[in-house]
């Protein structure tokens, strides 16, 4: 059973034409898929459409089912936004416990066992000892790690990350993505990330899906790809680039302009 299945899927905003059009995409359990494209290509729109946050048409199935209520969706999909919207002082542990909401009855409070599970998750993301710290006092990278712990607390088969690297410096980008890979990579959890940084996507994803002008224009499994196929696919959205293999990773480089053009 596909974990994410899109058939002729379009999504957009009220009063406008579809931003993302006629996407056919199937993602299997355990895949880590990088959705890449230039600004305005529709990456975030596609993610929001999958999460039923904006109008859409076509088929969208998550874990074989069409999302119903917010609670049902939250039991299938968890998301790490670019930046969390928490504006007020709150202990780090309570942020992680927010992930339980879809599995708790309306008026119920987390149990002692669930609080301990939240502490364990904080330890796994490298944030142990900070349970009682005010979330607002954390650095951006630390906040993203706590939000990752919250998403893991939700314990969903699908994890979405919307440009998780955009607000982070070099070290924190790699820390977050290393943590995602180590906690999700070996399990049946399916990860879909939108990213600007193609090199980061090629380092951490098993598959790249390319978006341009709201439409899919490429779908590459990195284990099966070679430099030529990658270069050719990526040139559709990043002209003047080519891909090489170095240090066990694929790296996209911008080609130097020729002497005649200088």
């Amino acid at each position: 059973m596909a974990m994410i299945e899109l058939r002729q899927f379009s999504a957009g905003y009220p009063g406008r034409d579809w931003t993302v059009r006629n996407v056919d995409l199937t993602i299997q359990p355990g895949e880590t898929v990088g959705l890449i494209g230039p600004n305005g290509s529709g990456k975030t729109t596609l993610i929001r459409g999958i999460c039923s946050r904006i109008p859409s048409s076509g088929i969208c199935r998550l874990a074989g089912e069409t999302p119903g209520s917010a609670k049902a969706l939250a039991q299938t999909v968890s998301m790490i936004p670019q930046r969390t919207s928490i504006l007020f002082s709150i202990p780090v542990l309570d942020v992680v416990l927010m992930g339980l909401n879809s599995r708790l009855p309306l008026l119920a409070q987390p149990s002692a066992a669930q609080r301990q599970a939240a502490r364990d998750l904080l330890r796994q993301v490298g944030m142990d000892g900070r349970e009682e710290q005010d979330f607002l006092t954390l650095s951006e990278g630390q906040k993203q790690l706590v939000i990752l712990a919250r998403a893991l607390m939700q314990d969903t088969p699908v994890l979405l990350l919307d440009e998780p690297d955009s607000a982070l410096d070099y070290n924190n980008k790699h820390l977050l993505l290393d943590t995602v890979r180590s906690l999700c990579g070996n399990r049946e959890r399916t990860v879909l990330l939108t990213m600007h940084d193609v090199n980061l996507a090629m380092q951490y994803c098993t598959r790249l899906v390319l978006l341009k002008g709201g439409e899919l224009c490429g779908d590459l499994r990195l284990a099966e790809a070679d430099a030529e196929s990658l270069s050719s696919a990526l040139r559709q959205i990043y002209p003047g680039t080519h891909v090489i293999r170095a240090g066990g990773h694929w790296i996209m480089l911008k080609e130097e302009p020729s002497c005649a053009n200088r």
Binding site: R53, P81, L87, P91
Partner: protein, 324 residues
């Protein structure tokens, strides 16, 4: 934060002292000796005047604080007050209509103020439906529009009012007072605030999630539209049931949640309970001052405003806010 476990007990002690002061203070001061001696007049003052008034002050202070705390989270705005979507100004219209056209009796004032408050909020919610409901700013704008309409209506009613009696009655109502609170008047308010406040307390976890961006809250499993409407209605009923009896009481709904959060940065149900206790204590102290500082009773919003304004100034000057 080991001091945290002492906050609520300390606040409750202060509240108990404020209750004692409220029972004793007034133009007919009471002492334990008077009561123990069985003085009939003292017991009459206590049971007929002081006890209902004190219960009302505790209920109103706690209710306004709960509502203020909820509104600040719901609208992601530390300056959100119970009036942000028009309940107080709507209640003012209702009370003004009652004074102008129905004789201004206590019962008609209460009923029409309650109706006016709920109508104003209903109108604000209807207006908000026409906009981007995901955005809390839509609700705030709708509240501003309804407030403007309601204030225009009150200004017109004041213009049409008899300057000798009705105008003063309208102005007095809009400044709030706990004078004239009797046993019969407190029961509906206590029941409404108890029920709605209790539900808000139980829904604290959901309210904290509603303080997130709607997309983020929805992806954590919150039915944002429904829950937001439910919480707004509960908070509005709380405020309407208070102001319809007491008139407008300013600043308690803003002050008490802020003080609670400054003392307990963790937020959550502990901070909510603390804000209720603080709100009750503040209103009791303001009411004691209202009936003892001068020979005639001072409208309570004058005193709560004198408490609130310096606090706001201090808040602006603070560096380490509990809000980002």
């Amino acid at each position: 934060m080991t001091h945290r476990k002492f906050l609520l007990p300390a606040a409750l002690l202060i509240l108990a002292a404020a209750i004692l002061l409220s029972l004793c203070a007034g133009r007919y001061p009471l002492t334990p000796a008077d009561l123990l001696s069985g003085d009939e007049m003292s017991w009459k003052v206590l049971m007929v005047l002081r006890v209902p008034r004190t219960i009302m002050a505790v209920t109103a202070g706690a209710g306004l604080a709960f509502a203020g705390s909820v509104y600040q989270l719901l609208f992601r705005n530390p300056l959100a007050a119970p009036d942000i979507i028009g309940v107080s100004s709507g209640a003012s219209v209702g009370a003004s209509v009652s004074i102008l056209f129905f004789g201004g009796g206590l019962l008609t004032n209460t009923l029409l103020a309650f109706t006016g408050g709920l109508t104003a909020v209903g109108l604000a919610l209807l207006l908000a439906r026409g906009g981007d409901r995901r955005n809390t700013a839509t609700f705030v704008l709708a509240g501003i529009a309804v407030n403007a309409l309601a204030e225009a209506a009150v200004m017109f009613l004041k213009y049409a009012a008899d300057p000798n009696q009705q105008l003063a009655a309208i102005d007095f109502w809009t400044m709030g007072s706990l004078a004239g609170i009797t046993r019969e008047k407190i029961l509906p308010t206590v029941l409404c605030v108890g029920f709605c406040g209790g539900l808000l307390f139980l829904l604290q976890r959901q309210i904290t999630l509603l303080a997130l961006d709607p997309d983020e809250a929805a992806l954590l499993g919150v039915d944002v539209d429904r829950m937001r409407h439910l919480v707004l209605i509960l908070a509005t009923l709380t405020v309407a049931s208070i102001v319809s009896v007491t008139g407008l009481i300013s600043f308690i709904g803003l002050l008490a949640p802020h003080i609670a959060r400054l003392l307990d940065r963790r937020g959550g149900s502990h901070a909510l309970a603390l804000s209720g206790v603080i709100g009750a204590a503040l209103l009791l102290l303001a009411d004691c001052a209202a009936r003892t500082l001068s020979s005639s009773e001072i409208p309570i919003s004058i005193l709560t405003s004198f408490m609130g304004a310096p606090f706001l100034i201090w808040l602006i000057a603070r560096r380490d806010s509990v809000w980002q």
